[in-house]
């Protein structure tokens, strides 16, 4: 099943995807869940900072920036349209 999903940091700017799985564990997982990174939530990639990291994401109507380190632990499915 994993092949279908890609890590969030590989999603291009402007694309919207759905969060499918969190591979983070412990307090990092807790933190992501608290910030709204829950399963089946749509998330849009807004922009990347000049150095490519961190990246801003729109989730549940607010913008949150994540480092690649965190984003790589979020598996998503791209919505095709």
């Amino acid at each position: 099943m994993y092949e279908k999903y890609i890590p969030l940091h590989q999603v291009h700017i402007g694309k919207t995807c759905i969060i499918k799985e969190l591979k983070a564990t412990g307090s990092q997982r807790r933190r992501l869940l608290d910030l709204g990174f829950t399963q089946d939530t749509p998330i849009t990639v807004i922009r990347r900072s000049p150095l490519g990291d961190p990246t801003a994401y729109l989730i549940k109507k607010s913008i949150i920036a994540l480092r690649q380190e965190e984003a790589s632990k979020i598996l998503v499915e791209i919505i095709r349209n």
Binding site: S27, R30, R31, D34, L35, G36, K61, S62
Partner: protein, 257 residues
């Protein structure tokens, strides 16, 4: 005020536990909520104080307190640092949690941002697991209106089982209603019946096993179900906190376990 060394010290925050009532009739109200939802603005409007407000999260790192009066009842309002959750990830989140859990305010007002309600409700559900005397304050209704978001306050109140007030703190709108509801909840004219989260059966079974062991430790002072949940989540520090709690001098209700 920025994050000065003094404001960031753990000790600075621990000091704030020591809220002394100048007379025993005063009621303690905690102001909780996600970062940047307008807690400090509400705090200033109610108490007439000039606590620094700003449009960035993490501004309130220590909790300030002030007094306001409504219908001859004095309330001590405590402005807590903003948190996304009660599972503490940082020192200030831990302070907010500990205040709500251990200092037992007479009522907790949870301030939420009407324009991103879903994200804020996570904290609401966590707080109602600890205390039942909860009031939901849906702030920034003007922001929401601008984003064309309508919030059905009545339905929210029914769904959550707690009183809900809509406010635009910046324009001083809805604050009289908020004071009224605080007064009614504290004087037990309104008794909130929050709807608790039910967990999957395996977790509920474990909670039921733990509760009889926790009850003698907390003696009705802290919600045993909530302590059980924290333990299941792997937070063992909570037990230490409960054991140390009687030593926390001058806690706002001076609770002895």
């Amino acid at each position: 005020m920025g994050l000065t060394c003094n404001a960031c010290k753990r000790k600075a925050m621990q000091d704030t536990y020591h809220i002394k009532k100048s007379n025993p009739n005063q009621m303690i109200i905690a102001l909780a909520g996600n970062p940047n939802t307008g807690k400090s603005t509400i705090f200033n409007e109610l108490t007439g104080l000039k606590q620094h407000t700003g449009n960035w999260p993490g501004k309130t790192v220590t909790n300030a307190w002030g007094i306001f009066k409504h219908k001859n009842q004095e309330f001590i309002l405590v402005d807590l640092p903003g948190t996304y959750s009660l599972f503490p990830n940082s020192a200030e989140e831990e302070i907010a949690r500990d205040f709500i859990c251990f200092s037992k305010p007479d009522a907790t007002v949870i301030v939420v941002d009407a324009s991103c309600l879903e994200r804020n409700l996570n904290l609401v559900l966590q707080i109602i697991e600890i205390t039942h005397t909860v009031i939901l304050c849906v702030n920034l209704l003007d922001e929401a209106r601008r984003k064309k978001i309508k919030v059905d306050l009545e339905k929210l109140s029914v769904e959550l089982g707690i009183p809900v007030v809509g406010t635009i703190a910046r324009d001083k709108k809805g604050l009289e209603d908020l004071k009224d509801i605080i007064y009614k909840v504290c004087s037990k004219k309104i008794i909130p019946h929050p709807k608790m989260t039910t967990y999957p059966k395996e977790i509920e079974d474990e909670i039921q096993k733990l509760i009889p062991m926790i009850e003698p430790l907390v003696k009705n002072k802290i919600n045993p179900r909530w302590v059980a949940l924290q333990m299941l989540d792997g937070d063992l520090k909570i037990l230490e906190k409960i054991t140390n709690y009687p030593n926390c001098k001058g806690g706002c209700h001076d609770v002895r376990l």
